[in-house]
């Protein structure tokens, strides 16, 4: 767990029967993705039925945790748990495996974030048996 400045709140995800396996893996520091056994589609977000061929043979695998910034914004006024967190970065990160996921970019000045920047996952413990994924500039 890497501290950042200022630390962002770490809200716990709401667990459902569909997403429980994903969030359980986060406790091990694993970003899991699903793949359809029938058509090979990498799936995001988790589901029981492939959104391409509509079969139910879904497998999970550990993803690389690496990607690039597809788009981002700097939120200037937060609310709720993020009331005092601004400015902070909300972004779509395009994972190496294909999916674009919403997340925060941490570990750098918001002004230094750029589209296309290489990033890697960083886990923030929720204190409830799982962790949320955020991304920081990739090492090297």
């Amino acid at each position: 767990m890497t501290a950042e400045r200022p630390p962002l709140p770490v809200p716990a995800p709401k667990i459902t029967t569909t997403n429980a396996a994903f969030w359980e893996a986060t406790a091990r520091g694993e970003f899991t993705l699903q793949r359809c056994a029938a058509c090979d589609l990498v799936i995001w977000f988790p589901r029981r039925t492939c959104p391409q061929c509509w079969t139910e043979g879904i497998e999970s695998f550990a993803a690389s945790g690496r990607g690039t910034v597809y788009s981002f914004t700097v939120v200037r006024k937060g609310s709720g748990a993020y009331k005092d967190a601004a400015p902070f970065v909300v972004a779509y990160v395009e994972l190496s495996e294909g999916p674009r996921v919403l997340t925060n970019i941490v570990g750098c000045d918001p002004a230094d974030v750029t589209v296309g920047m290489a990033v890697e996952v960083e886990w923030h413990d929720t204190g409830e048996g799982n962790a949320v994924y955020r991304f920081r500039p990739a090492a090297g």
Binding site: P13, K14, T16, F45, T73, R76, V90, Y92, N104, V115
Partner: protein, 385 residues
Amino acid sequence: MSIRGAAYVAGIYEHPRREIPDRTIWEIHAEVALGALADAGLTLADVDGVFCDGTSGFGTMTLCDHLGIRPRYVDNTETGGSSYLAHVGHAAAAIAAGKCSVALVTLAGKPRSGGSGVSFAAGPESSFESLWGISGAPHTYALAARRHMHEFGTTAEQLAEIKVAASIHAQHNPHAFLPHAVTVEDVVNSPMVADPLHRLDCCVVTDGGGALVVVSPEIARALGRTNAKVLGHGEAIKSTDNGRIDLTYTGAVWSGPRAFEEAGVSHKDIRYASIYDSFTITVLQTIEDLGFCAKGEGGRFVSDGALVAPFGRLPFNTDGGGLCNNHPSNRGGITKVIEAVRQLRGEAHPAVQVPDCQVALAHGTGGSLGTRHGSVTLILGQEDA
């Protein structure tokens, strides 16, 4: 089956107030319903079809109980701010099928004085989208704006031109929430909300509502009013596409062609366009996606006064739009239809009335360009269009 000519918008009403702490949303629904029916020359006793969104209670069920009416056709289609354009298309189809003949569409909400009051059950995406501090529409629309800038070189100044055009129009609307003209500098110097969107790139937050009355051709003729003929309608859902979301286009790429095909008109026939304007980027992407210019050319298209009525290439949102006039219930769909009908009737403010406005387009975008949204395009025309 086509709905071309199968129905007419015969009554419109926009609530004149922008902050309404002294009414419930159901009172506002009733007030705008009566207003639109009076405009059409009809009463609640004539209504046999009821259409409203899914933001409150049981929608049509609650509304019919409140109003004391017993329609034979109801529709709670919920596609966010574009719902009301979908309702017009659905009403026209229902009328064409003989399911109803006088359809009432209403919207009411109080985000300014009473909080949004809208809360939907969490979807399957919720645990993957709700953790990051995204607490308002600007945060995800900003992602779309940033990506459009990255791919096409769109600038903050070009986006600002859209607000400027809306504000020029709003000066002539005595009910407009922001009735003063602003400059490009005003927009780009206003406080940043979520980069690259400034405060003035955003629509207003207002209480209020509006209503439409959609009727069969027989009833339209009997009313003797100048009515807007429904020529075409198209709708589409654009989703996050299994994590492959492309933030540079909207569902208008699908809803637009469907509406144009049904209407049997081309872009050069469109004299006026109500374009959903939750944010400046919403307008820019929609103009491209509807085909008024090529993808990526929106910034250049809006930069030379193209949107300014009455003589721009594509006069838009002559009431001041959601950007300056009104965005009741955080939803700009019904006002888009209302101003298009005013233009077709020749009842827009004289300073912004488009001469000889025979065919108009209205487009709605509900939800978020940054995640999932419902796009609906309507094409309306004068009687002989």
